[in-house]
């Protein structure tokens, strides 16, 4: 049942995906909102059903992780959209949401076996914190890209390059900052709980590629927070650093599998 819901959600997200393509092609339309909202509800229902099935947090398998992240990114988009009413955010959000959910469908594995190493109550704290943090940092990343595109156009003074579909610089920067302010504490706590978990189970925690990358990523975001607060960075420089940080997130989330270690999906 939860797979059917997941597929339906994917189908509805395709409206969001179509919206993002059309927006980029400067075509106006508004049909995507109800579709995406309905897709999100189904998606959450799918995850909840899976949770009831396995009687555990459905985050131990690769497809579950993708599905979970997809749902959170949608949530992030919906919150940002409700606050700022910026449809162009979809241009960046939906390709990711769509791909995540698509991959989740692709890797679907009905087995409900949970690796013993993950049987711990820490999973309920550590993983959601990290995932929520990633979703917020993704929104910050998308806002940073929008900022840079708009800023370049304004500085170049070539009216042909002006992007009427993009929000104003101030809104982009504000969105980037607020998402960072939400995402950074979440990943910080995520790392702390991860460390505690590892400490409790193995006594060591640093010999894992994912841990290493997440530290590096955390450090980039730490710098960004520092520069924003102390040096008054905003706009372009902050946007660049935010992009570097999110590349770190991607490497951590997707790449760590290839380096081996405890976070690898079996």
């Amino acid at each position: 049942m939860h797979v059917v819901l997941l597929r339906l959600a994917l189908g509805l997200y395709s409206f969001g995906f179509a919206h993002s393509v059309l927006t980029a092609l400067k075509k106006k339309q508004t049909f995507f909102q109800p579709a995406v909202f309905a897709g999100f509800i189904l998606h959450v229902a799918s995850i909840a059903l899976r949770a009831l099935d396995v009687r555990y947090l459905p985050l131990t398998q690769q497809y579950e992780a993708f599905s979970f992240f997809g749902a959170l990114t949608t949530l992030g988009f919906l919150i940002a959209y409700a606050k700022y009413r910026i449809a162009p955010l979809s241009v960046f959000a939906f390709p990711l949401i769509f791909i995540m959910t698509f991959v989740a469908n692709l890797f679907y594995d009905p087995s409900a076996s949970i690796p013993p190493v993950l049987r711990s109550n820490w999973i309920y704290i550590h993983t959601p914190l990290v995932f929520f943090g990633y979703a917020a940092l993704f929104i910050a990343f998308a806002a940073a890209i929008m900022y840079l595109i708009q800023e370049r156009a304004l500085k170049s003074k070539h009216p042909i390059r002006f992007h009427n579909w993009l929000p104003s610089l101030e809104i982009c920067d504000d969105l980037a900052y607020k998402s960072l302010a939400i995402g950074f504490p979440l990943i910080t706590l995520g790392i702390v709980t991860g460390a505690l978990w590892a400490q409790a189970v193995w006594g060591v925690w640093a010999r894992d590629a994912k841990v290493l990358f997440s530290f590096l990523t955390w450090f980039v975001y730490m710098m960004l927070i520092f520069y924003r607060l102390i040096a008054g960075w905003r706009g372009r420089k902050a946007a660049y650093l935010s992009i570097v940080g999110f590349i770190g997130v991607l490497v951590t989330f997707l790449g760590a599998n290839y380096f081996g270690g405890l976070h690898t999906f079996q």
């Binding site: 104003s168 101030e170 809104i171 706009g235």
Partner: protein, 418 residues
């Protein structure tokens, strides 16, 4: 419905002629009254702006309107005939739609014309010279204007320096509320730009000028504060948008100063608008992070691009107008024809029933079957008689001459409008 339109615009007449033929607001009422007094003018409306005069009437003859315009303004036919244009029926409808949708304006897509047409319509309504036809036409014209506005980008982008400034400020700041505008120097153009920014939501205005009195004067206009010219750099820290238009022969804001100000503002962005010639702000300021500098040429470049965009959008708008004209004509003609058919049927049916009623007593000896047969026979006679004219009317429903045929048939059968 028979429409006639006579008018002149910036395209056909120089300003001397336009002002000579303009109708002042006070004159409009009497002009409208004297127009509908004429035989064959049933409804009328007059639009008179600085760029155009248009007289629209429900009337079969546009020469009547030409005569009226010349008489009213006491001017000879010969001196204005080359400047006046006349349209009838479909062409008149198209012209009204195009004017209202701002496709015939000097600056295509400018929004004022719609308000002016609405006002002209209101005045004619008040004067009681608008009937069913003109109100159908004008209401459709307003709807078309709205459609053109929302479905094309014809009025979207800025085509004046001050609107271009507002448009750019919105790209940087989004909402302008809470933003401070600083005016350095007191030129007309700077004042206009500040006025538009203020109207777009900017909260406060700072004014500085070499002559402090002039700054105080201008500050009063914007309910802002005047700042001594010697200290303007200190106050710039609080300004989000800086408009310069001094007569200074050299840069008054250099890169260093701008950098300091941005630093003091903790990198909050500043939008510099330099509309002075020679320029007041070093172009290198644009290279500073969070500083955006547009000089008069840059703004002009934006305007030119927007104008090009408007022309492109205007082509799409013309297509919308074409479709709407066609739809409106169809509706009007069917409107003339359909009621005629209905009334024709009703009136002949009444004749039949009255005759049967009158001869009731001759028929009372007939059996019910025979009575029913009489009823049936008379009905079918009426239908047979009506068949050719109704078929003709139906065929002509989509033809411009349909209305004339409807009139003729009404006369022949003596059908009165209900």
């Amino acid at each position: 419905m028979q429409l006639a339109l006579v008018g002149l615009s910036h395209k056909t007449a120089p300003v001397e002629i336009r002002e000579r033929l303009a109708f002042s607001n006070d004159a409009l009422r009497s002009a409208l009254a004297s127009l509908v007094d004429r035989r064959a003018v049933n409804e009328a409306m007059i639009l008179s702006t600085c760029n155009r005069v248009e007289v629209v009437a429900e009337s079969p003859d546009d020469r009547l309107i030409r005569d009226f315009i010349c008489e009213f303004h006491q001017i000879s036919h010969d001196s204005v005939s080359t400047h006046l244009y006349s349209y009838r029926n479909v062409e008149a409808i198209r012209h009204v739609f195009r004017v209202t949708a701002s496709l015939d304006s000097m600056v295509i897509g400018e929004p004022q014309i719609l308000g002016q047409v609405k006002e002209a319509f209101r005045i004619a309504m008040d004067a009681g010279t608008v009937g069913m036809h003109l109100s159908a036409l004008m209401n459709r014209a307003f709807a078309v204007a709205k459609k053109v506005r929302s479905e094309t980008g014809i009025s979207q982008s800025a085509v004046s320096v001050s609107y271009a400034a507002v448009e750019l400020a919105r790209k940087i700041f989004g909402d302008l509320s809470g933003k401070t505008v600083m005016i350095i120097g007191a030129s007309k153009m700077g004042e206009l730009a500040a006025k538009h920014l203020r109207r777009a939501g900017a909260s406060s205005v700072l004014v500085t000028n070499r002559t402090f009195e002039r700054a105080v004067e201008l500050a009063k206009v914007f309910e802002g504060a005047a700042v001594p010219f010697e200290h303007f750099t200190d106050h710039m820290t609080g300004a989000d948008i800086v408009i310069t238009s001094t007569g200074a022969p050299h840069f008054i804001i250099g890169r260093n100063l701008a950098e300091q100000v941005i630093h003091r503002r903790k990198n909050k962005p500043i939008f510099f608008i330099d509309i002075a010639v020679p320029r007041d702000i070093d172009p290198a300021v644009n290279q500073i992070d969070n500083a955006f500098l547009y000089d008069i040429d840059d703004l002009q470049q934006v305007i030119d691009a927007n104008l090009k965009e408007r022309f492109k959008e205007a082509m799409r708008a013309e297509q919308i107008v074409d479709d709407e004209v066609e739809a409106f004509c169809l509706k009007m003609q069917t409107r003339d024809v359909v009621p005629t058919i209905v009334q024709l049927r009703d009136s002949l049916e009444k004749v039949r029933r009255d005759e049967i009623e009158r001869n009731r007593r001759h028929l009372k000896d007939l059996s019910p079957d025979q009575q029913a047969a009489v009823d049936q026979i008379t009905k079918s006679i009426v239908n047979k008689i009506l068949h050719p004219p109704i078929e003709q009317l139906k065929q002509m429903a989509h033809d411009p001459q349909g209305a004339d045929l409807a009139d003729l048939i009404r006369k022949i059968f003596n059908v009165k409008p209900q």
